[in-house]
């Protein structure tokens, strides 16, 4: 499986099954290119979360091949996975904030895990909290934050390390439409700085709000790519990618 210029993720004929059940993902083939904005859509149970789990390396596929940043991640030794995960930012559907840590410490966690010194992380974390409008809640525990605030902390934690790829699972699922648009603008801003963004959503209204985005539609575990745009995305000014 060769890698094209700007291609940071390649799925080739990937299948996933849990135990002996039928496959939840079948023959999934697509590529993600650096600096693009992707929406992953599909009905509930279509396999969006399973596909994202494969993307953020929480799950190994049952078959097929996955390459990330030019490396085959299926055969990658376990001790090399952390360095790949540090290149990603993930917004989990259920946020997965650490309950006993403050908003500040939750946002600082990826930097601490990466080995950033305390003196060097204070300012970026404070900036990030201000950016998501939670500077005044820095010391609050997740249990005392509203759903929307928790979501913004989760997003701040996902983007604090300036990941090369941001993966967000239903990031607007728990917020009102106004906040959903705000969060989307935040992802766009990050995307403009060069981060590849993958947002899983079942909200079709959201798709129209990012005109340059590419749409991955999952249905019953199969990925639709009728135009081939996912494998050969149209060239976009200022980004790297091959045209169809």
């Amino acid at each position: 499986m060769s890698t094209r210029e700007g291609e940071i993720v390649q799925f080739d004929n990937v299948g996933l099954r849990y135990g002996t059940d039928r496959e939840v993902l079948s023959n999934v083939t697509f590529s993600l290119y650096s600096g693009r904005f992707y929406f992953l859509t599909g009905a509930s149970g279509a396999g969006k979360t399973s596909l994202l789990k494969l993307l953020y390396l929480a799950q190994r596929p049952s078959r097929g091949a996955i390459r990330m940043f030019g490396r085959d991640v299926i055969t990658l030794p376990r001790d090399q996975l952390p360095s790949f995960r540090r290149r990603m930012g993930v917004v989990f559907q259920d946020f997965r904030l650490v309950d006993h840590l403050s908003a500040f410490d939750n946002v600082a966690l990826p930097l601490r895990v990466s080995g950033v010194r305390e003196a060097d992380l204070r300012e970026p974390v404070a900036d990030m909290l201000e950016w998501v409008g939670l500077a005044h809640r820095a010391e609050a525990r997740p249990a005392t934050l509203s759903g929307g605030e928790q979501q913004r902390v989760a997003i701040a934690r996902a983007v604090i390390g300036r990941p090369e790829i941001l993966i967000a699972d239903e990031p607007t699922g728990n917020v009102d439409p106004e906040m959903a648009v705000k969060l989307l603008r935040l992802f766009e801003a990050l995307n403009r700085l060069g981060t590849t963004v993958v947002v899983a959503t079942h909200d079709v209204q959201l798709l129209r709000k990012v005109p340059d985005s590419l749409i991955m539609r999952l249905s019953k575990g199969m990925l639709a790519d009728p135009t081939g745009a996912l494998r050969y995305p149209p060239r976009r000014e200022g980004t790297v990618g091959e045209s169809a």
Partner: protein
């Protein structure tokens, strides 16, 4: 909404290891639990007492064996005083000529009477009781069973009532029992080490279970097994240091009390069990070994458990 802040180039990844108070705070329940320092303290105290006992017994056996090696007593049980004196003379001649004999001394009758006084008392009636003649014999190094047999045969020719006893034979069962006790103490130390490691293993697994969700998040954010294991190591290290110090102090106090009790016996053999400076160094290593075993066990438990996840 402002643009996202760009992290300064100064934010250099991987230079500062994720550990210390911040890392420990990530998994508050990683503290292996309230009883752990006490469990370690009890294990260390018992091990210190067992190690002290094993070393004392070892010293006692080697001192007693050294003292008795090559020592023998010739006993001439002859009721007739004249015959007895003649046989003593003859035995002395045999001993003086034997190459295996380093030296000998006829035990004076007064000394024998004094030895037997607790049983026989004093007085004229007692003086009428015929006492055996005794000769203490020192054999050269390396003298063995053959030399004893040859000496006895040579003495029997000139003194039919003479009998030679190696002093080590009298105490052989005692030394054997002491030696068995020493090995039992060493086995006890091994078992205590095993039980201590098992307790840490259980506590670490329990703490891992209590923090599974947080550990999963740390993994997904790029945390490594080693980082998680270090948090648990730090936690058990604190518990083990507290337990090790408490246990060592308790163990040494218990040993001092026991030593005082044995010293009151005023037995020469017990005095041979005195601990040397090197023995104390070995005993002082017990808490350090306990800490090392606890930290290593916690690390291995955490790593082997984490390896089962992706």
């Amino acid at each position: 909404m402002k643009r996202p802040p760009a992290l300064a180039n100064a934010v250099d990844r991987g230079l500062a290891p994720f550990r210390g108070r911040r890392a420990a705070g990530l998994l508050p329940q990683a503290r292996l639990g309230g009883p752990m320092p006490w469990v370690i303290a009890i294990m260390v105290a018992l091990t210190v007492v067992a190690a002290g006992g094993a070393l004392a017994l070892s010293n006692m056996v080697s001192t007693a064996s050294g003292d008795l090696a090559g020592s023998a007593t010739v006993q001439i049980i002859e009721p007739d005083a004249g015959q007895r004196a003649a046989q003593v003379e003859a035995v002395q001649e045999v001993l003086a000529q034997d190459p295996a004999v380093e030296g000998f001394r006829v035990v004076p009758e007064e000394d024998i009477a004094e030895l037997l006084e607790p049983w026989l008392g004093t007085g004229e009636e007692v003086e009428a009781v015929p006492l055996p003649a005794l000769v203490d014999v020192e054999l050269r190094d390396g003298a063995g069973r053959d030399d004893y047999a040859r000496l006895e045969a040579a003495m029997r020719e000139v003194a039919p009532r003479a009998r030679i006893d190696a002093q080590s034979d009298w105490l052989a069962p005692v030394l054997s029992a002491l030696s068995a006790l020493k090995w039992m103490a060493l086995a006890l130390i091994l078992m205590l080490g095993f039980v201590g490691a098992a307790a840490v293993w259980l506590a670490a697994r329990n703490a891992l279970g209590g923090n599974r969700k947080t550990i999963e998040v740390v993994h997904l954010l790029g945390g490594s097994d080693d980082q998680v294991a270090r948090i648990f190591q730090r936690s058990i290290l604190l518990d083990a240091i507290i337990g090790g110090v408490l246990g060592f102090v308790a163990g040494v106090l218990a040993m001092s009390l026991l030593a005082r009790q044995f010293a009151a016996l005023q037995s020469g053999m017990v005095a041979g069990g005195t601990l040397t400076a090197m023995d104390w160094v070995l005993i002082a290593l017990v808490p350090l070994f306990a800490i090392a075993i606890a930290v290593y066990t916690a690390r291995m438990t955490v790593l082997s458990s984490l390896r089962k996840s992706l």
